[in-house]
């Protein structure tokens, strides 16, 4: 265990703490003198969360509430010939039973859920299986009863007649002719044209720029390798939970743990074919999501049950349900080929990616294809990607969805290239780093991005400069990329007469975003972070806001808070003009003080005069920004591999990341550390294991093996700040990119320690041992 004797972040200044650097590299300009941004206030919801008072989804209790339970398919692939629920319905204490028959017919219905079109029939069938169960754990029927014990007993009385079918769980197998077909009506979307014949391949994507064939011909070195990654789960500690009340007036209220209350509302309304306005979603505190709590699973089912019995119904998954019945992220096969000149310039690239979609089309292949070469300026490149249905749960986003699999492949080949060319791995990356003006293979041209600065900062870390000694030890490095997105956010904020401001927002707070948003409003208004009171409210109490995901909340909802702040200032200046009997234009505002000639009023003082000058002030903003700009992170790992067992021990870890601007550095570091550790888990031990009937055999925390505190050293962080020109405070978004690099970082480190290139995830002890044995 590496012990780094350093000060605690809590006690140190913002700039340098706990082995965590904070590199101001915003070019020639000096960082603006922020008063709130860059400080580390205690989060607004903190006291509730350390005392157990915060109300998470499972903590909710309503009068007359019933408990639900869901019957799930024991088969990975089966035709459902019949479902007999009569015995369950007659059980004392059972108040409602629901199956897919209770859902409206959704065939051929498509909805736009803000992130592209979604096939509602598929969404509905995933929530409650219709004619086929497509994975073990697929929901088939649901019961509401007076308590969980009765509900589970009732499940045992539901008779389902299954006709088991052959299942397929490995992506390349599912693509073969003759593979078991999940959806007889599925035709490959072949670059926009429907393909012919039965298939599990829902989409074939192709991106190309320049002339890759010619460029490979001119390359001095060409390396082509194949990579495989296992299915992994987001692993949030809070299982899915939803409570629904279909009221007597027909209004449906849903209390749920969701990353997006508005998308939960829309998905539920579309699935039930009722107007949006008939549904209110109340977001509860949420115990992690990482992309996995964007799709609905329980919400529509709880609603169906409540509609049948007229009482609130709570549905909670257990851990096995979460593993077997909710979106993991794709397993994958990726082939990457890179061609470079002797001087290290990468001139050609080609990639083939096949990703699990899971049971229904629409996985993470798009971002996978777009991210595979996104760290580099490569003029000639070609990418083919395949979205493949197979008998696993429908995949869901997981922190930079699709990017980690691609980065594992590309960054491993780049490492081999550096070795073959005899160039330092950071130098090689710097030589080829994407920068402003670089065109990515899928078309977009980068705005100002910070990869070069991030690589340079990595080169300057104490970690990279240190010497690693000892047997069986090695150091690895790799880059990661994520787009970061914008999307829609709305806020409103009202000025209280004591000078505080209450901020209403629709972004569910998974990791401290209440505070990072409130800090931006506080900065704008020139007040303290503690003087903003952020509230995450329901879908009737704030304007439309997209999901908490895509590393967008601090960027986009923060931007909305900034604009609401400007709106408040404009209104406050009018009030000041009334007080001073001057023109609005003559009222100046700076750093929390309004001025006219020699007169001045602080924000708080003026707030105290709102009563006399026209009443309350409400600021508001709704944004849909284009300018979320890309994030890059570089990670460095020192490992020791036990040659006798194949086990990898992490000795030291550093992550260097461009945050644009770190609003609350502690939570930026936290995102970096947490993302890195999820990537470490993905790299070393996490995987879905299947038996010969394609049933998951390790649907528990015991055997899924997420990292514990004892598996890790401290995670050193260096925040690079290359401000995003499209955001008033320079925010880029930081949540996702930290997960991308760790698998390649570790594969590269393991190679340096052992001489063995690991090309399959997880790089678990038996695999590394077998690779070492094969090398001998």
């Amino acid at each position: 265990m590496a012990e780094h004797k350093t000060a605690s972040p809590a006690k140190s200044d913002a700039a340098q703490s706990a082995g965590n650097g904070h590199a101001q590299t915003n070019g020639s300009t000096v960082a603006p003198p922020y008063r709130v941004i860059g400080t580390r206030p205690v989060r607004h919801d903190g006291a509730d969360k350390v005392t157990g008072r915060a109300v998470y989804g499972a903590d909710l209790q309503l009068p007359g509430m019933l408990y639900g339970a869901i019957l799930r398919s024991p088969h990975a692939h089966a035709r459902i010939k019949s479902i007999d629920t009569s015995a369950a319905e007659q059980m004392p204490g059972v108040l409602a039973v629901a199956t897919a028959r209770d859902l409206p017919n959704l065939k051929d219905k498509v909805a736009n859920l803000g992130e592209g079109a979604v096939n509602l029939a598929h969404l509905g069938a995933n929530v409650l299986a219709h004619d086929k169960a497509l994975y073990k754990g697929h929901a088939v029927a649901a019961v509401a009863a007076v308590n969980i014990h009765v509900a589970e007993a009732a499940l045992a009385k539901i008779r389902v007649d299954y006709e088991p079918l052959t299942a397929v769980t490995w992506v390349l197998d599912a693509m073969q002719p003759g593979a078991p077909i999940l959806h007889p009506d599925l035709r490959t979307d072949e670059l926009g044209e429907p393909g012919a014949g039965n298939t599990n391949i829902s989409t074939h994507l192709h991106f190309e720029q320049g002339d890759p064939d010619k460029a490979f011909g001119q390359a001095d070195v060409v390396i082509e390798r194949e990579y495989r990654t296992a299915t992994v789960h987001q692993g949030y500690i809070e299982p899915h939970v939803s409570t629904a009340l279909w009221n007597n007036d027909g209004h449906l209220t849903i209390w749920t743990a969701t990353q997006g209350s508005f998308t939960a509302r829309q998905q539920t309304a579309e699935l039930l074919q009722i107007p949006l306005s008939q549904v209110t979603v109340v977001p509860c505190e949420i115990g992690g999501g990482f992309g996995g709590k964007i799709p609905v699973y329980l919400e529509p089912v709880a609603a169906l049950l409540s509609r049948k019995c007229g009482r609130p119904v709570k549905l909670i998954m257990n851990r096995a349900d979460v593993f077997e019945g909710t979106g993991p992220t794709p397993g994958s096969f990726v082939r990457v080929k890179l061609g470079a000149k002797k001087d290290g310039r990468i001139v050609a690239a080609e990639a083939y990616l096949a990703y699990d979609a899971g049971a229904y089309p629409g996985g993470m292949i798009g971002p996978g294809c777009m991210c595979v070469f996104s760290c580099y300026d490569i003029p000639n490149a070609r990418v083919d990607g395949y979205d493949v249905c197979l008998n696993k749960p429908k995949t869901a986003a997981y922190r930079a969805p699709g990017a980690t699999q691609a980065a594992f492949a590309c960054e491993s080949v780049v490492d081999e290239l550096a070795e073959k060319l005899g160039i330092d791995p950071i130098e090689l990356r710097l030589k080829n780093a994407a920068k402003e003006g670089t065109r990515r293979v899928d078309g977009p041209v980068y705005d100002r991005v910070g990869l070069v600065e991030t690589l340079e900062a990595a080169r300057n870390t104490p970690h990279w400069k240190s010497k690693l000694e000892g047997k069986n030890r090695g150091r690895g490095i790799a880059c990661g990329f994520w787009f970061n997105i914008g999307l829609k956010s709305s806020v409103s904020a009202h000025v209280n007469f004591d000078g505080t401001v209450t901020l209403l927002e629709g972004s569910t707070d998974i990791g401290g975003s209440r505070t990072s948003i409130a800090m931006q409003l506080a900065e704008t208004l020139g007040i303290k972070a503690e003087e903003v009171i952020p509230r995450v409210v329901d879908t009737d109490s704030v304007g439309y806001t997209d999901v908490t995901g895509g590393s967008r909340v601090t960027f986009a909802t923060g931007l909305a808070a900034y604009h609401a702040g400007l709106d408040i200032i404009a209104q406050m200046r009018q009030r000041a003009a009334l007080v001073w009997e001057c023109k609005v234009e003559e009222v100046e505002f700076d750093a929390g003080t309004f001025r006219h000639k020699k007169q001045s009023l602080t924000f708080r003082e003026l707030a105290g005069k709102l009563h006399q000058t026209g009443g309350a002030i409400v600021g508001r903003a709704s944004v849909d920004p284009e300018g979320a700009t890309n994030g890059f992170a570089v990670q460095i790992a020192d490992v020791e591999v036990d040659p006798d067992t194949g086990k990898t021990t992490i000795l030291r870890w550093t992550i260097v990341q461009d945050a644009g601007r770190a609003i609350h550095p502690s939570y930026v570091e936290g995102q970096m550390q947490g993302g890195a550790v999820q990537g470490i888990g993905w790299a070393l031990n996490e995987e879905y294991l299947y038996d010969d009937k394609s049933r998951m055999t390790n649907a528990s925390y015991l055997d899924y093996r997420m990292p514990t505190a004892l598996d890790l050293p401290m995670i050193e962080t260096v925040i690079v700040e290359v401000p995003n020109p499209a955001h008033p405070y320079g925010v880029r978004g930081v949540g996702e990119v930290p997960i991308c690099a760790p698998p390649a970082t570790l594969a590269n480190a393991i190679y340096r320690a052992t001489g063995v290139r690991m090309r399959e995830l997880p790089m678990s002890p038996p695999r590394v041992w077998a690779a070492l044995a094969a090398k001998k």
Binding site: S8, Q61, C284, N318, R319, Q673, S700, L712, M714
Partner: protein, 175 residues
């Protein structure tokens, strides 16, 4: 079989009685019957530690304790860590050190860490990591949790820091 059983316990210092079925776990009774929902259920089989409580001072997974076994026992839950409006130094250090993100694992970590510091006021980093390995966190990567426990150990060790800190500063957020 489902006859209800009367159980007398002490919870967070207060004598508490409840009725339960034999098959109900302590966690279920704490959460659903007594409405002490600070203890969380993450897995139901002792692998995540989100439901950790102290049973006669010993940390246990309350999902693996039958409620009837609590007869005569002294139980501490996360709700019992703070005194009046003053947070326990661990709670304060978790807040100041940003040792939580989503917060669902936090109650379990706090209770386990309290048990650790009660026994071992100056644990090494390795000791902290070892004793906390029964508590899973998926958000933080553990770095800031370990540091917060180290800070709390210092605070409890008598440099007076714990005493200076009053209740949490910002106002509680909405649910």
């Amino acid at each position: 079989m489902s006859k209800r059983i009367h159980v007398s316990t002490t919870i967070n210092g207060a004598p508490t009685e409840f009725l339960c079925e034999a098959r109900q776990s302590l966690l279920e009774v704490l959460r659903d019957t007594l409405r002490l929902t600070g203890s969380k259920e993450g897995c139901g089989n002792g692998n995540c530690g989100a439901c950790t409580v102290l049973l006669d001072g010993v940390p246990v997974d309350s999902c693996l304790v039958l409620a009837v076994e609590a007869e005569g026992a002294d139980i501490t839950t996360v709700e019992g860590l703070a005194h009046d409006t003053r947070l326990h130094p661990l709670q304060q250090c978790f807040l100041e050190g940003a040792a939580l993100q989503c917060g669902i694992c936090t109650p379990g970590f706090l209770v386990t860490a309290k048990a650790l510091l009660d026994r071992n006021p100056k644990p090494t980093e390795h000791k902290i990591r070892f004793q906390l390995s029964g508590n899973l966190c998926r958000c933080t990567g553990y770095d800031k949790i370990v540091r917060a426990v180290q800070e709390a150990a210092k605070a409890l060790d008598g440099n007076g820091r714990a005493e200076k800190k009053a209740a949490a500063k910002p106002r509680a957020a909405a649910h």
